[in-house]
Structures are given as C-alpha cells and as structure tokens.
Symmetry: C2
Subunit: 178 residues, 2 copies
C-alpha cells in the first residue's frame, strides 16, 4: 500500500474548463482553449480577470469533476492510502467550498484524508499527482505531472495525461471510465 497525494485543481476538478465557462458567461467573450497552452495559468485572460473570477464566491464550489477522476480515485482508495492535498489557503473562500465539493463528488474520501495547505513542501507521501512544477519539484517521493495547458513545456516529470493513464500507472481498474 502506497500513500498517494492528489491535487484538486486541474487534477480532480476541471478548473481550466470552469474558468473558460465563467469567463464566457460573465464577459461575453470566448477564449480559445488552445491559447492557454504553454503559458502561465490565467495569463490568456485580460490582466487580473482570472484572479478575480477565482476569488469570487461559488467559483470553487461549482467546478466540474475531471473526467474519470471519481472512478479512478475510488479504485485507488481501495488499494492505497489516498490523501487529497490542495493549496487552498491562497483563496480563503475556497476552503469551505472545496470541502463541500469533495463531500458531494468524492463522498468516499474521509475528512481524515483531506489536507488544505499553502506550500506543499510539508507533505510526505510516496506519490504526488499534481499539475504544478512548484509542488512537484521539492517532493521527495515519486512525482506525477497531470497534464494541464500551462505545464505542457515541462519535460522533467513522468506525465499522466488523464485519469485513464493514472489508472494504468497504478494498475487499478478503470472499466467504468472507458
């Protein structure tokens, strides 16, 4: 049994898609998803807009679930010790929203296995699935880079492009996702 630390935003929760949806709805403008590739998160939007959208009440509560994440995380929980580790402190409103979101979409994850932090340097686990270099670079276990538009240039990590690949990596069943 291994301990696996799993990030929320852009890994369990499709933050990028939600940001595009909210922007389109509130600003009546469409951002081409391709324009997000290879540049820092949020920088495809007018200055300050992504931060403003992320800081608004309800944003984190309403993010769609990443395709395949529920089934594969559930399968991982049956074989391994899974911790959800989210850098939530930067957005204080997100704390309660993220907890409610997890309770709704991942009810099989105990509150004992949820961590909201700022820096993830304090987390000790065997594996970390995350979309950010800043979280993976100081991790002492095995880092797995979950593909997101902003991290396409990174080449120094084992990459997982979706939850099917996570299931394959850990050799757990994901029959429900295919």
């Amino acid at each position: 049994m291994a301990r696996i630390a799993i990030d929320m935003d852009n890994v369990m929760a499709d933050l990028t898609q939600h940001l595009l949806n909210v922007y389109e709805k509130e600003y009546s403008e469409v951002v081409d998803p391709e324009s997000l590739n290879n540049i820092p998160e949020g920088s495809a939007f007018p200055e300050g807009v992504a931060l403003k959208i992320l800081s608004a009440p309800g944003f984190f509560r309403n993010i769609p679930v990443m395709a395949g994440s529920q089934e594969v995380v559930k399968a991982l929980c049956e074989k391994h010790e899974v911790f959800v580790v989210s850098a939530a402190m930067e957005f204080p409103l997100s704390l309660a929203e993220k907890l409610a979101w997890l309770n709704e979409h991942f009810p099989f994850i105990s509150w004992r296995n949820i961590v909201f932090c700022g820096s993830k340097t304090i987390v000790e686990a065997d594996y970390m699935i995350d979309d950010h270099d800043k979280n993976l670079s100081s991790f002492k276990g095995t880092p797995l880079l979950f593909t997101a538009p902003h991290n396409l240039p990174l080449t120094e990590y084992k990459r997982v492009n979706n939850w099917e690949e996570v299931a394959e990596y850990f050799a757990v069943s994901n029959v429900e996702t295919v």
Copy 2:
C-alpha cells in the same frame, strides 16, 4: 534551521478556557477546571455538549490566544521554518474561522505556512508541538507534548508546560512574555 509544526487548539489557542467560558455563559453552570484533568477532552461536560459548543458558528473565531504564544511563535519564525498544522476538517465551519483567527493574532505567519488537515500522519517536519497523543505517536520527528488537562497522564513524550518552556527548549528569546 528546523521545520516546526505547531498545533492550534490548546497550543496556540486556549480552547479549554474558551469552552469553559462559553459553557458557563450558555448553560449558567460552572465547570471546575480541575475536573477536566486526566480524562478525555470534553468528557467533563454533559454528553454531547462540548461537541455542540465546538460545532457552533463563531466558536473557533473567538478563542483567546494562549499566553505567550504570539511572542514565542514570532521568535521561532525568525530562526526556523514554522508551519501551523491544525486538524480542522472535523469541524467544517472552523476552516474560515481559524484562518481569520490566525490572520488577526499571528499576521506574521504566511498563508503558505498554514495546513488544515484531518490526520496529521502526512506531515513531515523536524518537531511537532501538539497536545494529542494521536498526532504525536506516528510523527517521525521529535514530538513535544504541550500540556493540556486531558494529556496529564501521558509520560512518553518530552513535555512543554507553557510557551516559556517552548522558548527555552528552542533557545529563543521570550523577554516579552515574562
């Protein structure tokens, strides 16, 4: 420089005193502080009452600061890497309240150095200052038991009875607290 993980309730925040105060105010009954000694937390109160008080909105926002904690934590922050690590997930309302409490009373602690979790087994640090056996027993670094009424029977840890003793242990100045 060492990494020190510091608990909030009964270490930085005087939860026991606040529980006694709120109980006296809401139930018009006084509980003798001595009656809390050597028994599990909350069990000196009528069944379910301590849990009810802790679950009410505002409880964690209004806890008094533990004597000496601000000065000594500030001194520790100057020499060491300090993380506040609080088992907040059991009380969802406490998340935002604990963050606001820290911002008010410990504004020198960055959001990067705050961790709200369930189980503390995932925390990696050199020292952990905590009042609970369940948090210290699986810790791989050096555990320091901060004295609280419920933990008086424990003999297996290095004990610190107050923040002056923490300052002495880490050889940091605590001139402002004496």
